[in-house]
Symmetry: C2
């Protein structure tokens, strides 16, 4: 249960996988079958700084096969979930006072990390195709005029958190062009791309840029289990080498050797790809239920995104409904959502928006939670 | 096998536990006995930001019982090994250009982390009782005169890495006095205190300072298994709350939920304290073998520390033996140690020192590795 939620409530804010979507029995089988002393002794000790070698090989092979990405082992390292990657990359690329570019709205907890690093956060709005390039460019010109170099652009490119929107190929190319002109890196937090229900994926920033100045993060948190804390980072070989040689990796060893070994065996058994295939259907069904409930419950004036993958739907409220008032009333009925305010640099920009997650709550709660919200919004509009 | 070491060699540099000191069977038993679906589903998902609650309770109870420390749950959080803590605390307490205080010699990988954060590292020498207070004070006066505030003093207080030295109670009190006068925090990386072979432990900095402005790190890496990546941080409640509310913890959840659950069950079964008791004897035997081999093998002019716990012995070479030359010749015979140069801000200060670890290599290798070094040094002195 995510923190701060009382039993019996409906946490539509939670970006967690539903407990019934975790492959518990398969993981137990994997742990048992791999448990022989010399093997386990290795993975209970400090690990290679770059991370589990067999997992690196597995991921490189899969990326090259699925995306024709052309990466080699020098381009990939294992990390303790994509959070580890965002922290490491932020620490490496930027110092307090530097600027970072983000979407508006953007992933709340990433904004939090950038604030913790005392970065200046500059946002440009998104539409259904992702960041609006003219606004990004205006922001870049202003920064340049002020002598402030942006260090990187942070983006969740596919099924964005919070909006569910996927950035188009054209927008990606335009951003890459700007990144070369204004000399900033692109940090592509690719958390949800494996959970695509329909349509084709645009090539990643990493792919479109030929790997140049792009750092792409991936994770097993949404397609296997968050509690194992395993993800990966793809970047130019010299960048990977720099991270691998960092003090943090020298001191602590590679990312989570024990759970990385479990994930490795799970993946190499073929179980992961089968599980991802199954998960896509499960999450698609959840999205469909959420969209049907929205269609049935929401009064006129409410609009929402129709994500083709991932975990999230983004709602826009009519002007009569302030998100604070809705949040308070919903809480009174045990329904929780993520207020739009947290996803903007200036919370005032998010007072008519909210994020619904269809990943976590039981299906009946998904329907009834959305119904409760629909009734509350209708009453506020009346 | 630690990285960069060829098979058949003797890695006396490795600060790893020996594979035969990892409680592999007990961990398997713990994982199996705890494997029921609702339980495991919790620990495969995102965890509480402060970390596993039952592990926090266990550690609080143990610290209060063993040390009469008077901490409560608000004073402790679970972290992904003490490395995580050093990174988090450094990021939180200091910005690029700030000064950090360390011992000379000091733990190499921590120096590396401070360099990665672009801190100014100021070191004061240690003797057999720890940091020499007059030198530390001189350094502080210089910093104050230059208008540069030191943010924190980093120390491995017990069985220091690399020297094996434990700082005396009097020195600790003097450092705390200076920390109040010059307003810096104390980061106490207490990795080895559970591995005490003899004598009584001085109270921790945290204890002596009444918890004020001290951040104390602990870890299961040396007394259970590094590959699980679990440790803890003790600090004032408001500091812990600040870390728990950080973007990194909000985004990724608490430290390594799955392995934290394994460690929790292991500890609460009583197995950990029994294992630590057993480990003390094992490492004491290793230290005794190393000291006996040094006594038997080293020519006149070589001196070394006699640690009362931990993993490390620190050697001082006669002026005839440069550590680089010794390193090269030892490598030729398959023996590796940690050159003293890495443990100083200025590597030139460490050209007559080296660190031997007695924790990792098989016992016959521990003896023969030291014999090889003794012969090489004797030849260099001749």
């Amino acid at each position: 249960m995510p923190q701060g939620v009382v039993a019996g409530s409906i946490p539509l804010f939670a970006g967690h996988p539903s407990p019934d979507l975790l492959p518990i029995d398969d993981l137990q089988r994997i742990i048992l079958s791999a448990w022989d002393a010399p093997n386990v002794a290795r993975f209970l000790n400090y690990g290679d700084e770059q991370g589990n070698r067999r997992l690196i090989e597995f991921l490189v092979e899969r990326l090259n096969r699925a995306e024709d990405l052309g990466v080699s082992r020098e381009n990939l390292m294992i990390i303790g979930g994509s959070t580890w990657g965002v922290g490491m990359v932020t620490q490496h690329l930027a110092a307090p006072g530097d600027a970072v570019l983000v979407d508006a709205p953007s992933y709340r907890d990433a904004l939090h990390i950038f604030r913790d690093h005392r970065l200046k956060i500059r946002a440009a709005p998104i539409d259904d195709e992702g960041i609006i390039v003219a606004d990004l460019e205006r922001s870049l010109r202003k920064l340049a005029a002020a002598g402030a170099a942006p260090r990187f652009y942070y983006v969740v490119p596919n099924f964005q958190n919070p909006s569910g929107i996927t950035m188009s190929r054209e927008r990606r190319l335009a951003v890459i062009e700007l990144s070369r002109q204004y000399n900033f890196a692109i940090v592509e937090d690719d958390v949800y791309s494996d959970l695509r229900f329909e349509g084709a994926a645009p090539p990643s920033f990493y792919d479109l840029a030929g790997g140049e100045n792009v750092l792409r993060l991936g994770t097993f948190s949404k397609t296997l289990a968050p509690g194992l804390r395993i993800g990966w980072l793809i970047a130019a070989a010299d960048r990977i080498a720099g991270f691998v040689e960092s003090g943090m990796l020298r001191m602590g060893g590679g990312a989570n050797p024990f759970t990385a070994a479990v994930v490795t065996d799970y993946c190499r058994s073929g179980a992961w790809e089968a599980h991802v295939q199954w998960l896509r259907g499960q999450y698609e069904r959840r999205r469909d239920i959420a969209l049907a409930a929205l269609e049935a419950s929401m009064p006129a004036g409410v609009t929402w995104t129709r994500p083709r993958g991932g975990y999230f739907i983004w709602l826009r409220l009519p002007s009569s409904a302030h998100v604070d008032a809705l949040e308070e009333r919903a809480r009174g009925q045990g329904v929780y959502f993520a207020s739009g305010k947290g996803f903007y640099v200036d919370p005032a920009d998010g007072t008519r928006q909210l994020r619904l997650s269809f990943s976590f709550v039981p299906l009946p709660d998904l329907r009834s939670g959305i119904e409760v919200l629909g009734e509350l919004i209708a009453r506020m509009a009346a």
